[in-house]
């Protein structure tokens, strides 16, 4: 989903940058608040960022005969809510833009918008929706990660189609073209990401019950339900 350096016309590059900036600023604020109020969550924050680091470096072959990589943003969005993921995703994208010539500074705004904003929010929305419908936690986690991954690549397709409409068939023609490159390739990878996120969440459930309960992912089993509801309101 990385739009290469210089591959978005200046007006588009600026527009996506302007669109992304408030999310990242708000994210930085949420992140500092989280760290100040709950210093013990720093470790898990680091682990969520690390998950994005690993997954976005993993280029995997797909059914279309090309390679792509997952994003790893679903996990952090579930644990710490999307604003914080906007920051962690931006850090990953900056690392790749500066050291790997993967993505770029001029396209950072657009890439942040797809991977660090829309992906986490879409995944989080799915998570909330399924949790409310009493779907088992792990099924919820799978679909949240799947949607976070796939929506990111759909947004990239839209961004490129807006910047480079097909001379004949216009925006929709270009969307079909970029969609077949990105979105179709991404479907099996989104499944992989879903499975890996479930794996990490299973390990977290085994190892960090207290943390997950505080974050509202696990419902406190021995306490009365009202206890967790007040926490949900407080967040």
């Amino acid at each position: 989903m990385h739009i290469a350096e210089g591959f978005l016309p200046p007006a588009h590059a600026v527009a996506w940058g302007v669109a992304s900036a408030p999310f990242v600023v708000h994210g930085v604020r949420s992140l500092t608040r989280e760290v100040r109020e709950h210093p013990e969550s720093t470790l898990l924050l680091g682990a969520s960022g690390a998950f994005t680091f690993v997954l976005s470096a993993l280029k995997l072959p797909s059914v279309t005969g090309s390679c792509s990589h997952p994003t790893g943003t679903g996990l952090g969005a579930i644990l710490f809510r999307p604003p914080i993921m906007a920051v962690l995703g931006t850090i990953t994208l900056l690392f790749q833009a500066l050291l790997l010539a993967h993505g770029g500074l001029t396209t950072l705004g657009a890439n942040v918008f797809s991977m660090a904003i829309v992906g986490p929010w879409a995944g989080y929305a799915v998570y909330k929706l399924l949790r409310r419908s009493n779907v088992p936690l792990m099924v919820t986690v799978f679909f949240a990660a799947f949607v976070a991954d796939l929506s990111t690549y759909c947004v990239t397709s839209v961004q490129l189609a807006l910047a480079f409409p097909d001379p004949g068939s216009g925006f929709l023609g270009a969307l079909g073209k970029f969609g077949s490159i990105f979105a179709v390739t991404q479907i099996p990878l989104a499944v992989s990401e879903g499975l890996l996120t479930v794996l990490v969440m299973r390990l977290l459930v085994q190892s960090s019950k207290g943390e997950l309960t505080r974050l509202g992912v696990l419902v406190a089993q021995k306490q009365a339900r009202t206890g967790t509801e007040t926490e949900a309101v407080g967040r």
Partner: protein
């Protein structure tokens, strides 16, 4: 092997299978260059849609060769994997420490069951 470990292993195998199957079935054979990155393919598509488009900015730093680039990608993955491993290792150690302290405190047979419950979900 515990049931939990089995499920985790199955998840890993499924991910590996998803990555290997496209290669095993030669799904890239119809292409001149199989299994290139989709990011690069998008660049090609852009130059097809707008042949006169010139990228107006170039990366500040570009890895001088494919080897250096893959080294940096591995570094990225290694950093992430290292932090994740540290996290889970630390948690495991702490849990074991707490459990041992508990066992020492009570000195009874009760303590052994505390850490073994592996309830999933809710």
């Amino acid at each position: 092997m515990k049931r939990n470990t089995k499920i985790n292993l199955l998840l890993l195998i499924a991910v590996a299978a998803l990555a290997v199957l496209p290669l095993a079935f030669g799904l890239g054979d119809h292409k001149k260059e199989p299994f290139t990155g989709s990011d690069g393919e998008a660049e090609t598509a852009i130059t097809e849609l707008k042949p006169d488009y010139e990228p107006w900015f170039s990366p500040l730093y570009e890895p001088p060769s494919g080897e250096i680039e893959s080294a940096l990608f591995s570094l990225q993955a290694a950093l992430g994997a290292g932090v994740l491993a540290y996290y889970f290792g630390l948690r495991r150690g702490r849990r074991q420490g707490e459990q041992r302290a508990l066992e020492r405190q009570s000195g009874s047979t009760l303590a052994g069951t505390a850490g073994k419950s592996t309830a999933e979900g809710d």
